[in-house]
């Protein structure tokens, strides 16, 4: 058992990061996917995670969305513990209620969109606000239409997902996540399942979000050029750890570690 007394009950002070991974370990049996990960993301920061497959980069996002449980360490969101909750002066594993409370500030978009096939684009966007946030249908509709307009999908709002292309579905999925007004947005390989010619329509939406909204974002992608353009910081993952991180230009132009260089040159050759 881990000694939980070394973890603060909450983060306080002037520069509380929006997301903080502290000593986070994830393993499947003997296979260690993430090894004592420490990662901080400041409010409003755009961080991109890159790395070879199997390096644990997607797991980082899935843990933050509570889709995966963690085996050690604590994740904090906006100063509050997410995976744990304070009880009797120490942190204990979070119960469902606590998870629901903290999870409300996180939104996620998936590689395979995961839109609800039995609902139209608009209904997909309204589902969370009406059912979970308890907004009136009127308010939820206005908010959803505004966001569908933002992602350029307003004229398809009454279509079911099966009638939409991959790129269109992903844009609706982004609007659906934004409709919950999250503080942190997670993008998990959102362009990997798309045909090359529609990747741009999705990356343009994300560009717009970065320039116009003050969201904290964490993204996993294989689009190196895109990552370089819009990120404040790039984290290169290797073997369950952060091998190297830094501002995009520095990391891409002047990588310090051999593995980073190897990875970047392998990616360049593939293009």
């Amino acid at each position: 058992m881990e000694d939980m007394s070394e973890y603060p009950l909450e983060l306080s002070g002037d520069n509380v990061p929006m997301v903080r991974f502290m000593n986070v370990t994830k393993s499947y049996g003997a296979l260690v996917v993430l090894d004592k990960l420490d990662l901080e993301i400041a409010a409003g920061e755009m961080v991109t995670v890159i790395g070879p497959s199997g390096s644990g980069k997607t797991t980082v996002l899935r843990m933050l969305m509570t889709l995966e449980t963690i085996n050690g360490g604590v994740i904090y969101v906006d100063g509050q513990p997410l995976t744990h909750m304070p009880k009797g002066g120490v942190l204990v594993p979070a119960d469902a209620r606590h998870l629901r409370k903290i999870r409300a500030s996180i939104g996620m978009c998936f590689q395979h969109f995961n839109l609800f096939p039995h609902m139209t684009a608009l209904q997909n966007c309204m589902e969370g606000p009406v059912q979970v946030l308890g907004l009136s249908k009127q308010v939820a509709r206005e908010r959803s239409e505004e966001l569908l307009d933002l992602v350029g999908m307003i004229d398809k709002k009454d279509q079911h997902p099966s009638r939409l292309s991959g790129g269109q579905q992903q844009r609706v999925a982004i609007a659906r996540a934004l409709a919950m007004r999250p503080k942190v947005m997670l993008f998990d390989e959102v362009t990997s399942a798309l045909d090359p010619e529609v990747i741009g329509e999705v990356t343009n939406v994300i560009r717009k979000l970065v320039s116009e909204h003050n969201l904290t974002m964490l993204m996993v992608t294989h689009q190196m050029g895109f990552a370089r353009d819009i990120s404040d910081r790039i984290c290169f993952f290797f073997g369950g750890r952060i091998e190297e991180q830094g501002p995009p230009d520095a990391l891409f132009e002047n990588p310090q570690r051999d593995r980073t260089r190897q990875f970047l040159s392998a990616v360049k050759e593939a293009v």
């Binding site: 509570t66 995961n114 039995h118 659906r176 996540a177």
Partner: protein
């Protein structure tokens, strides 16, 4: 060969058989209603985190599916009185056939629930939905269309199994045909008519179920 179809006899017994068909349809309907609800309970019980309940439900389903319905009907009808509970043929018949088909329907539901992609559950988590909202708003609506074919097959199945209720004296179609046979010593017409009546119901039923399935899919906006 003493084969001779008597039309006058046919028309004499037809009203009686058609009247009994109503009982058959009612038995199938009531039994199915029990099975639809109980089957859902059995399917959801197998998805809970509480291991003993999961195992118990699983074993119950296996047991029901491995033993003959006609024996279960006898069991329910005769065992009650041994312990001072008297159930009418109708009640015990409905309990037995409803229980039997609930085991089969729970398997249909289970398959339907498992056919919903994992990403749908994850999207619900990402939208911070409760497990109740997840089930009722997202998972069950999607599990329904793939379950409909199986549910329809078992509706026809339960109809075709109602003749077994005749063994404890439920006055359905088979029971009536038996009665006519023993009164008149003519078996050709009653048994053949029973077969034709069943065909007349179950053949179109398959097509109707298929149409219903398409209609539901369209209603839910799914292809």
């Amino acid at each position: 060969m003493n084969f001779n179809w008597r039309w006058d006899f046919t028309f004499e017994i037809l009203p009686r058989l058609l009247w009994a068909t109503l009982n058959t349809l009612m038995a199938a309907g009531v039994g199915y209603a029990i099975a639809v609800v109980l089957g859902l309970v059995l399917a959801l019980a197998q998805r809970t985190e509480f291991r003993p309940l999961t195992l118990l439900a699983r074993e119950f389903v296996e047991f029901i599916r491995s033993t003959p319905l006609v024996l279960q009907i006898f069991f329910v009808f005769y065992v009650g009185p041994q312990f001072g509970i008297r159930l009418s043929p109708w009640v015990s018949g409905m309990v037995a056939i409803g229980l039997h088909y609930s085991a089969y329907l729970s398997e249909v539901y289970r398959g339907g629930l498992e056919s919903v992609p994992k990403g749908q559950w994850e999207a619900c988590t990402a939208l911070n939905m409760t497990s109740r909202q997840t089930y009722f708003r997202v998972i069950i609506p999607q599990a329904l269309p793939p379950s409909l074919a199986g549910m329809g097959n078992y509706l026809v199945g339960i109809l075709k199994d109602t003749p077994m209720l005749s063994v404890i004296g439920v006055a359905e179609l088979m029971h009536t045909a038996n009665a006519i046979g023993s009164e008149s010593y003519r078996f050709l017409e009653p048994y053949t008519l029973v077969g034709i009546i069943f065909l007349a119901i179950s053949l179109p039923a398959a097509g109707l179920i298929r149409l219903f399935e398409i209609w539901v899919r369209r209603k839910l906006g799914m292809r």
